[in-house]
Amino acid sequence: MVAAISLPENLDLKTAAPLKAAFLERRGAEIIVEADQVRRLGGLCLQVLLAARKAWEQDGHPFSIKGPSEAFVETTRLFGAAGALLPTEFQGAES
């Protein structure tokens, strides 16, 4: 079974808690995180994403981010989190 999460446009303070809850609900199976809608990514949601990725790694289930939007890629690189979050083809030079 593969679970999916579609990230909302705005990943800010208010989204962090629901996002965490959404991840916890889907725990225990492979997950695909759809990041094509994202226009803004904040530090708090970045934390949730990183923690989720670690959790999935720990559980031994695949965790992947699909079709990241330009904003998502750009901000993730800015955060220095490209290596951890982005699919390999997006892991270019971190700006």
């Binding site: 962090a16 226009r39 904040g42 708090l44 934390q47 800015l78 220095g80 971190e94």
Partner: protein, 763 residues
């Protein structure tokens, strides 16, 4: 209210203060008084607006602020000379910035074409030699040839994320170019390591590390390395707490101050360490992590040139209207303060040093709470008066413990009331500071040269009054420039300075606030005014009027002197509207004019709409309250001091002068025939305009503080009556409007003209 919305509201409040500081600073620069500190303050104001706007994603505002800020930064660095011409451009830019703020707030629109043109102009100033690449030439033709797109753009402005770049001059690429330019000049020593450790508060205040990083990247290429070692497991993660820290390698030719400025908005919410050179990530993070709490104290977060910001809150808070509240807050922050704490309060305001105490309110309180408190205190005052009256009725000796206790209670009540009123009192500055822009715009529109001189900006008045001052002042200023001042040519011909002076002043006079708007223009053309009034059928052509009466014709409904409807004043609302709105506030407006020398509008309003010190008097069986501020003295006239004048009137000889005797009972219609003045008590009162009159009452009950209850709100306006109040025994008493009473009497004839005919209150 949504938490973020609430923060946004605060941001816009701060914006207002910042815009005011900005304008103040720019005006100082325009007068040639702009030292480096002023330029710094101006820069900080724009920078703060930009930062806050960035946090809320208000793109058009951020972009404009950025161009503005870039120029100011150049001025600050000395690469662009600080001239008077520059200040004029910056002032216009600040107007547009204010428009952007209003638009972001959902109030009004921005003229995008003007904004783009201004942005281009600012860029031109920043670097006169730069071949204005894409921006300027593109923008100009767009504006010139196709005015049509402009309105379409305006709508888009509200939604910051929309692609409203069409007419926009500054594309983000400009920044990249700068960054690359910086890149080219790089020398190895320009590598910095910035360790950032955000606190949870940073996110809670709607700030964002991503924005900080992005802002850093504008200084030069960055490489961020994040450390998530402190990040808890997903199930244990508090989603709103900050755990990740960053170490950023930054290459820039800017100095440390520039780097610190990026973090100006997050002072205290983010631990920061900036070191030159390549820092080892582990080391710098460890340095930050080690002294867990006191980091802020060790780390001077406030940038070097800004200790002034930290200083004011520690400076005497006595003058501040919120003095009673402030110390508590002040105490909470140790004086030597973690710059964090002090800066958190001071930094967002970037208050320039020259602004005195009252500008620095420390607490933001919902005005409704204060209003409620004031209402309650009003009830307390009434209740206390009732209690005193009851006790009096029982015939308790004034020296008894009970009576003395009551006296103390009265004093305390009084003090509480004063303190509460002081919380709501504000300097009129908040209204005045919007006026320079108005004057600039109106002068531009009418092709006149006008300089605004303001006086008494720190005069304090109750907030309820302040809110309603803006419209009348705006109207009077417009009127003064449009109708009062002559065109520069006419002025030259008349031997005057082509630049007209409009003066706006506020002062306290006999318990009221007086606002004066005067100009040095041509004065009222009485012949024309009279002619128009006749033509419009407002007066009979054969009416004999004094000069003052003619001047006051402009307050008649339906009177408008502008021959053609001008953009400025001829909007179908005349001075009669101003007069009515002023009267509704319990105020009065009058005009005095001298041909060739100018006119002065005088507006007088009560300081507060809440309480009043009054003399309780008896007139024909009714209890009235006469405002104490108007009373000069009370006396019992001797028969030989009363002289008849005309068929009904009489005057009273007071020392060396005669003043008209006015029977209050007769004037207000309580009785048909007035008793002889020697049977009653006379209150010698002084009106707004300084004219005196002797009011006859039957008896005086004493002095009391009363709570004003509006008659207009609860009933309707009654001539000669200012408001009502509730007395200690629960009865309603009317508060006498002294000026209106004098005027009522005067109009009926029989009383001589006041000694100063130059000012007649227009009733």
């Amino acid at each position: 209210m949504d938490e973020l919305e609430a923060i946004k509201v605060t941001f816009f409040q701060e914006c207002e203060e910042l815009l005011a500081d900005l304008e103040g600073g720019l005006l100082a620069m325009e007068e040639g008084a702009g030292d480096l500190e002023t330029v710094n303050a101006v820069f900080r104001a724009v920078h703060s607006i930009k930062g806050g706007a960035g946090a809320f994603g208000l793109e058009p505002l951020v972009r404009f602020a950025h161009v503005f800020e870039t120029l100011l930064d150049a001025v600050r660095a000395g690469s662009v000379p600080n001239t008077v011409e520059l200040a004029a451009v910056l002032l216009r830019a600040s107007d547009i910035l204010a428009d952007h703020v209003s638009a972001a707030r959902g109030l009004g629109d921005v003229d995008m074409a003007a904004s783009a043109a201004m942005a281009a102009e600012l860029e031109q100033w920043t670097d006169p030699n730069a071949t204005p690449t894409a921006p300027a030439p593109v923008a100009a033709p767009t504006v010139a040839e196709e005015p049509a797109p402009a309105p379409a753009l305006i709508g888009a402005d509200d939604d910051a994320m929309d692609g409203d770049d069409l007419g926009f001059v500054f594309v983000p690429q400009t920044i990249t170019v700068e960054a690359q330019a910086a890149d080219a000049e790089l020398i190895p020593s320009n590598v910095w390591t910035v360790s950032i450790r955000p606190k949870s508060d940073l996110y809670r205040k709607a700030n964002e590390t991503a924005l900080l990083l992005r802002e850093l990247s504008r200084l030069g290429p960055i490489k961020a390395t994040l450390d998530d070692s402190a990040l808890p497991l997903l199930q244990n993660l508090d989603p709103e707490a900050a755990f990740i820290t960053w170490s950023v390698r930054l290459e820039t030719d800017q100095d440390e101050t520039a780097i610190r400025e990026v973090f100006e908005f997050v002072d205290g919410d983010c631990d920061l360490e900036i070191t030159r050179g390549e820092g080892s990530v582990e080391a710098s993070i460890a340095a930050l992590t080690a002294p867990a709490e006191p980091v802020a104290a060790v780390e001077p977060i406030a940038p070097a040139p800004e200790p002034v910001e930290v200083a004011p809150p520690i400076a005497p808070p006595a003058a501040a209207p919120v003095a009673e509240v402030a110390p508590a807050v002040e105490a909470a922050k140790p004086a030597a303060a973690a710059p964090a704490a002090a800066a958190a309060a001071a930094a967002p305001k970037a208050t320039p040093v020259e602004v005195p105490g009252p500008g620095q309110s420390v607490i933001r309180v919902d005005p409704e709470r204060i209003d409620r408190l004031i209402d309650l205190v009003g009830e307390l005052v009434i209740n206390q008066a009732m209690l005193a009256q009851r006790v009096g009725e029982y015939g308790i000796a004034p020296s008894s413990n009970l009576a003395m206790g009551l006296d103390e209670l009265e004093q305390l009540t009084r003090e509480i009331q004063d303190s509460v009123m002081a919380i709501r009192a504000q300097p009129v500055k908040s209204v005045f500071q919007r006026m320079p822009r108005l004057v600039r715009e109106v002068a531009n529109m009418t092709g006149k040269q006008a300089r605004l001189v303001m006086d008494g900006e720190n005069t304090e008045v109750d907030k309820t009054v302040i809110e309603r001052l803006s419209d009348p002042i705006t109207h009077m200023l417009r009127n003064a420039i449009d109708h009062g001042l002559e065109s520069p040519e006419e002025r030259k011909a008349a031997g005057k300075n082509p630049e007209g002076v409009v003066r706006l002043a506020a002062l306290h006079r006999s318990g009221r606030i007086v606002i004066e708007v005067s100009d040095d223009g041509k004065g009222i053309n009485r012949e024309r005014v009279f002619g128009i009034a006749v033509k419009k059928g407002l007066i009979a052509p054969d009416l004999q009027l004094t000069d003052e009466e003619i001047d006051n014709l402009i307050f008649l409904p339906g009177f408008s002197t502008a021959e053609k409807i001008s953009d400025v004043s001829g909007r179908g609302v005349g001075m009669d509207v101003v007069k009515r709105s002023v009267q509704a506030l319990g105020g009065r407006i009058s005009i005095s004019s001298r041909p060739g020398q100018g006119s002065t509008f005088t507006l007088s309003l009560p300081l507060t709409l809440a309480v009043l010190d009054g003399m309780v008097v008896d007139v024909a069986g009714e209890t009235l309250v006469v405002p104490l501020a108007a009373i000069v003295e009370s006396l019992r006239p001797k028969p030989e001091e009363v002289r008849p004048l005309g068929p009904v009137g009489s005057v009273l000889a007071v020392r060396d002068s005669f003043v008209p005797l006015i029977d209050v009972g007769l004037t207000l219609g309580y009785r048909e025939e007035s008793p002889h003045p020697t049977d009653g008590v006379v209150l010698l009162v002084e009106g707004e305009d300084g004219s005196r009159a002797a009011l006859v009452a039957d008896a005086i009950h004493g002095q009391r503080q009363v709570v004003i209850k509006s008659l207009e709100q609860n009933y309707q306006q009654v001539e000669g009556v200012a408001a009502a109040t509730i007395l200690g025994d629960g009865r309603v008493a009317l508060i006498l409007d002294v000026d209106a009473t004098i005027n009522l009497r005067r109009r009926e004839g029989g009383a001589p003209r006041p000694p100063e005919p130059s000012l007649i209150a227009a009733e």
